[in-house]
Symmetry: C2
Subunit: 452 residues, 2 copies
């Protein structure tokens, strides 16, 4: 019988990341200064990012070398396995072949260390002593804490207060790796104190946590800020996923007709899809690319392609992206990693150019897909990843109806070991679906900054 | 640079388990009937185990074929990686080479599915509809639930009541895979009702849970009982660990001077060590074999090699094993998987013959070793596995003192994703060490049954 998984040796870990900016048919719109609304330069970002990261952010070079110390750490869990979901195929009775790239095998349980490691490395190399960041569900915070142990960096994480209380396991994981976690809003920053003065009982938000983290990083000359998604350099680092998958599909003697990823800020989606999309953009090989997002945060499917801020406090530069408006507050769904009002500018741009399809699913169907996956493939997926699974199952069922033996590839971005209460709530019937209407979206979009 | 991990293709999954009974210099003492105290026959076990399992329990055949449907499921995560702990070596400054076999990559996060899958398979093949078991910490219960999904079997788990409340994530995992979990003692059995009548607030014990599970299994003609450790067939199934490790050490161009495993009931320890010990018993190759146990449950280091019951209710057959006495109640340490009064008869017998060394550690040093491992190798170990890590670290430090470049191999039996509160308690200084004295052990041993 054919294999159910395809391993690559350590020597096959990519030596360079793939930068899709080199293959864009139309260049990316510039990033604008939040005050002047003019294109920003590297000096505007220097207080919060190391120069190597800023260079990657604006580079149009197709291949960017992965430093040896980063590859040496990647070796601990990369290449990650490409798996064939034979039991799921059998369960669905589909003629389609379903493959998935399993990023859940990283020490932090998701794809996030792929960028946390190089970000920590570049900061360390430029003499930074500590990195400040924010985290919602905790996937990013734990990955950066892990990276901190490898490069002897202090990691300070502002964790949205409601998650800080609700997700003690994630917090414990960050602390086990030496990260310091502060519930946000806090009295450690001016931004936090201002919020608490007005709303002493605030449960926090990602926007508030970003404001606190950026404030601390900007004021401390030995500290920088780090972001776990959205920005170009993050998409770049994540392409190790798709580059390995390309080689593994070759090992399997196959090539995907469709590549699927869940999309919140866009990083695991870009990671799995950009190397395949690049082949398409260069006219080498054709593949459908499908982004799946939650119906309660339908950035790509109902948002507007426009300039917007990354935070509610309007401290960040303006990015041209699909957005639901920076005042948009998604429902408290369990796929915390997909609750962001904006979307990676690169993913947004390519989506706007028609190179990427998008689809939104309500959460109940995603949890059902996650349960099916857990009971066929044995792996408990993260709530975020269940969106990609739902997309893959629907494509496989379409193949069944159309009697087509297509090849489907999706990214399993992480495991759900720290999300078990969400599965309990789902089985207990405590979860409901919420779909944002076009009217609600239009209201949130009314507050967008006007850029001429 | 040399590899940090060694993968084997699916085709290298062993085709047969290794039965160390074939190579014993002295045969295993017989199992005795709890009533007659005479050696039992297969018919005595037939009400609770399928015949294929009973045959394996008493077999002295060296190799026992692994059925194809079992290997097909093993393929989803086996062969598991053999990893070289280079960062840990560097941190310790040791000339020793430290390898570990990573059983944490299984869907349930431990080595337990290695035996849950074949046990479910044999039960299914003999027409069984449901399997009843007990679980303490939940590693075994979740593995058997997973196995139930693969073979469409109902799994009913009596979970010690105190764990049922304290470990909601483990319970949720079992239920996600379709297992039914009942807090024990319960009013679903005569045994449970009797306990509750006398102690309505009982928080339960493994002994009580076993009594309930066996009662249900014995009364239901469509049900059998399953055990996750101690018995010979469980040790047999776990030898896939060591058989793969043998091949992988060869890939690495190395051979262990010492093989280390943590030991509770003995199954992961037997799994990693028996294939190496077999080579030693057959005079092919020499290796030290080291079992590590908690100082608060020092079965091998302070127990007595004697006939004892497996449960407090004296329903099970009498096994000759190292035991602390069936009335022994270990402290509530976090390594729940190592809290058993007895030890696998095979491990006990070989230990008594001088083929196995044993060592006991208090829990604080083990958690410290676990933190060191998490911060060097990135993997968060289960509290049970930290005992093997502590053993490996101490051996590596001995090598440093003696300036010897020995090769150390240990089994990472599982990850600690569901044990994060234990790490929080450790860091908060809430855990204490408890070492059982020889006097306390002697008292518990005074209640042993007298067998002439």
């Amino acid at each position: 019988m054919d294999n159910v998984k395809y391993f690559l040796p350590e020597t096959d870990i990519p030596t360079a990341w793939y930068n899709i900016a080199a293959d864009l048919p139309v260049p990316l719109p510039p990033v604008l200064h939040p005050g002047t609304k003019q294109p920003i330069g590297p000096e505007d970002l220097a207080p919060i990012f190391p120069m190597a990261i800023i260079e990657q952010e604006v580079s149009t070079q197709r291949w960017i070398d992965i430093p040896t110390p980063v590859r040496d750490i990647y070796r601990q869990w990369r290449c990650t396995p490409l798996r064939r979901a034979r039991r799921l195929e059998e369960f669905l009775g589909t003629p389609a072949k379903i493959y998935f790239k399993d990023e859940s095998v990283s020490p932090a349980g998701s794809h996030k260390p792929n960028t946390a490691i190089p970000q920590a490395y570049y900061n360390k190399r430029e003499g930074v002593k500590r990195i400040i960041t924010e985290t919602g569900a905790g996937q990013w915070g734990s990955s950066l804490s892990l990276a901190g142990t490898y490069f002897d960096l202090d990691i300070l994480i502002y964790m949205v207060k409601v998650s800080y209380g609700q997700k003690p396991y994630r917090r414990a994981l960050m602390e086990t790796w030496g990260g310091r976690v502060i519930a946000s809003p806090s009295n450690t920053t001016a931004a936090g104190r201002a919020i608490l003065a007005e709303h002493p009982d605030s449960t926090g938000s990602l926007g508030m946590a970003i404001a606190e983290a950026v404030e601390v990083a900007a004021q401390d000359p030995e500290a920088k800020y780090a972001l776990g998604s959205v920005l170009n350099h993050v998409m770049l680092h994540q392409t190790v996923i798709g580059l390995e998958a390309l080689k593994q599909m070759e090992l399997a003697g196959d090539y995907p007709d469709v590549v699927i990823g869940c999309a919140g800020g866009g990083s695991n989606f870009a990671g799995i899809s950009f190397p395949f999309l690049g082949k398409k953009l260069r006219g080498e090989r054709s593949t459908r690319i499908l982004a799946v997002e939650p119906a309660s945060c339908p950035t790509l499917t109902k948002g507007k392609f426009a300039y917007d801020f990354g935070d509610t406090a309007h401290l960040t530069p303006l990015l041209k992206m699909y957005t639901l408006g920076n005042t948009f507050v998604p429902e408290g769904i369990h796929a915390g990693g997909l609750r962001y009002h904006g979307m990676s500018p690169l993913v947004s741009h390519l989506s706007n150019l028609g190179e990427i399809e998008a689809r939104a699913y309500p959460q109940l169907g995603c949890f059902e897909a996650g349960m099916t996956f857990a009971r066929t493939e044995g792996i408990l997926p993260a709530p975020e990843s269940t969106h990609a699974i739902k997309g893959a199952i629907d494509e496989a069922l379409r193949c069944k109806r159309e009697n087509k033996a297509e090849t489907i590839l999706f990214c399993l971005s992480g495991h759900g070991h720290f999300d078990l209460p969400a599965y309990q709530d789902y089985r207990a019937g405590k979860l409901v679906d919420h779909e944002y209407s076009h009217e609600e979206v239009a209201m949130a979009l009314a507050g967008l900054p006007s850029i001429t």
